[in-house]
Every structure is written in structure tokens, then in C-alpha cells.
């Protein structure tokens, strides 16, 4: 299966801008399905971003983050061709990891 993480990382000078889009339902636990039953909460809790093995960004998310979450940030020190490793883990213990090259 294709990765749930889509990422675009581009370096301009010494600054790398990272945009990540993750496919995830991010169910809040407050929404009911067609039968009127509550859909249990199912959401990403933590996303970590590492560049060359060094943590550059950690996102802690609650249920109030939108479905298919998007996040944008930038950091200094990344170079074109460097590896950017992104991992997430949700409240049910599921996880995914991908590694992108900085363009």
C-alpha cells in the first residue's frame, strides 16, 4: 500500500520548508455514523520529523486536528538530498513511517 504520508521538503538557502499531508480519519469520538452509533475516537497522537537522525519537529495532536491532517514548518540546517524521516503513531497504536529526500 502506498504510504499514508505525502511530504514536500524543499531547501532554499539554509532553510528547509516542509509540508506534510497524512491520510488519516482523525475521528474525534463525537461524530455518529449513519446508524446513530458513535464512531470511536481514532486520531494521530504524535508525528515526528527527523533530518539526518536529528529531531527537527514534533507534533502532538488531539482529536481537534482535521481529517487528513496537514502541517507546514521550516527549519535550518537541511541540505538538498538529505533524508527527512517522518513517523506517526495513533491512539490505536497504528503507525507509519516514510523517508523523503529534501529537494
Amino acid at each position: 500500500m502506498a504510504s499514508t504520508i505525502r511530504v514536500r521538503a524543499s531547501a532554499t538557502g539554509d532553510t528547509t520548508e516542509v509540508q506534510a499531508l497524512i491520510q488519516h480519519p482523525m475521528d474525534s469520538g463525537y461524530v455518529k455514523d449513519a446508524k446513530g452509533d458513535l464512531i470511536p475516537a481514532h486520531f494521530i497522537q504524535q508525528v515526528t520529523f527527523e533530518c539526518n537522525g536529528k529531531s527537527v519537529f514534533v507534533a502532538d495532536w488531539g482529536t481537534a486536528v482535521s481529517k487528513d491532517p496537514y502541517v507546514k514548518f521550516s527549519f535550518k540546517g537541511g541540505n538538498k538530498g538529505d533524508d527527512l524521516k517522518i513517523s506517526w503513531v495513533d491512539n490505536k497504536g497504528a503507525s507509519d513511517t516514510t523517508t523523503a529526500k529534501i529537494a
Binding site: 463525537y30 486536528v65 491532517p69 514548518f73
Partner: protein
């Protein structure tokens, strides 16, 4: 300028002392646990996300109150047509930023997202959050061990938390 300074110096000093005393009394109630929070930075702050109110969430996350600052630039729409996807971003001119958090006061749980900013990462984050109804949105920035915040009211026409 000098003249007014001398003329008003006594009452001003008294007022300043008064403010200082109030601030000290206020701080006395809050346990000094910020060091413990900083150490556990990489751990998922479960309690903070479970907190219902904005004040409880800030307390669970940082253990101290935030002060409003015009150095925190919160960018949020005036009106969000769809509460399920509200684009929010924050940026700041503050330096030494270690963490950025977003809170929605009237959501079932106030804390929406919290980001750890290691040294070398820009203090600027954009993301999309859900809002149950029209509410105040607050961004909190932790810089140099202190908390700074900016708040904006976002009107929501269709809620994002419930059917």
C-alpha cells in the same frame, strides 16, 4: 519629560510595588514544575489533551499562565464556513522558541495541537483544525521559559465536531 518624571515618581513607584506584590501572590499558587515538563517534552501530553477548558489544558501542558503578546502573530479566518477544516497558522518574532500550541476555547477538549520546536527550527507553524462552534482560538508560544499568546475569534457556520 524629566520634570514629569520627578513629579510623578513617588506614586508611580508605589503603583509598581503594588503590581509586583500582586504578581508574586499570583505565582505562589502555581507549583514550579516547568522543569519537569521540559524534560518530558517528547512524551505525548495525554492529560493536556483530555483537559476540557483552555485554562486546564494550559496548566496541564505548561504549568503556568500565558501573557498576551503582540509578537505572536496568529493567522486565522474571520469566518470559517466549515468547522471541520479551519486553517490556522502562527508565527512570531520571539527568539528561543521551544514550543507552540493551538487551543480552541469552546471545543469539547480545548487543546487542539502542540508542537515541539527544537533549536534550529523556525517558530512558525501552519495546520488545520476542527472547531465545534464559534469560539476564541488561542496560539501559545513558549519562548525562553515564558509563555506568550495571541487570541482571535473565529466564527463557524457549520460545526466540525458532531453530526
Amino acid at each position: 519629560m524629566n520634570m514629569t518624571d520627578t513629579r510623578f515618581s513617588t506614586p508611580r513607584r508605589l503603583i509598581l510595588q503594588g503590581i509586583g506584590a500582586v504578581a508574586l501572590v499570583g505565582l505562589g499558587n502555581i507549583p514550579f514544575v516547568s522543569a519537569a515538563f521540559a524534560a518530558a517534552n517528547d512524551k505525548y501530553p495525554e492529560d493536556a489533551f483530555k483537559a476540557k477548558t483552555e485554562a486546564d489544558a494550559i496548566k496541564a501542558l505548561y504549568g503556568k499562565p500565558a501573557e498576551a503578546s503582540d509578537k505572536v502573530k496568529l493567522d486565522a479566518p474571520e469566518i470559517a464556513e466549515n468547522g471541520a477544516v479551519v486553517p490556522i497558522s502562527v508565527t512570531t518574532t520571539l527568539t528561543d522558541v521551544t514550543s507552540i500550541s493551538f487551543l480552541v476555547a469552546d471545543n469539547p477538549s480545548a487543546l487542539a495541537a502542540s508542537y515541539v520546536i527544537p533549536a534550529g527550527t523556525m517558530p512558525s507553524v501552519a495546520n488545520r483544525i476542527k472547531m465545534a462552534k464559534t469560539s476564541k482560538v488561542t496560539a501559545i508560544i513558549e519562548a525562553g521559559g515564558k509563555l506568550y499568546s495571541a487570541t482571535k475569534e473565529v466564527k463557524v457556520t457549520v460545526g466540525g465536531c458532531g453530526g
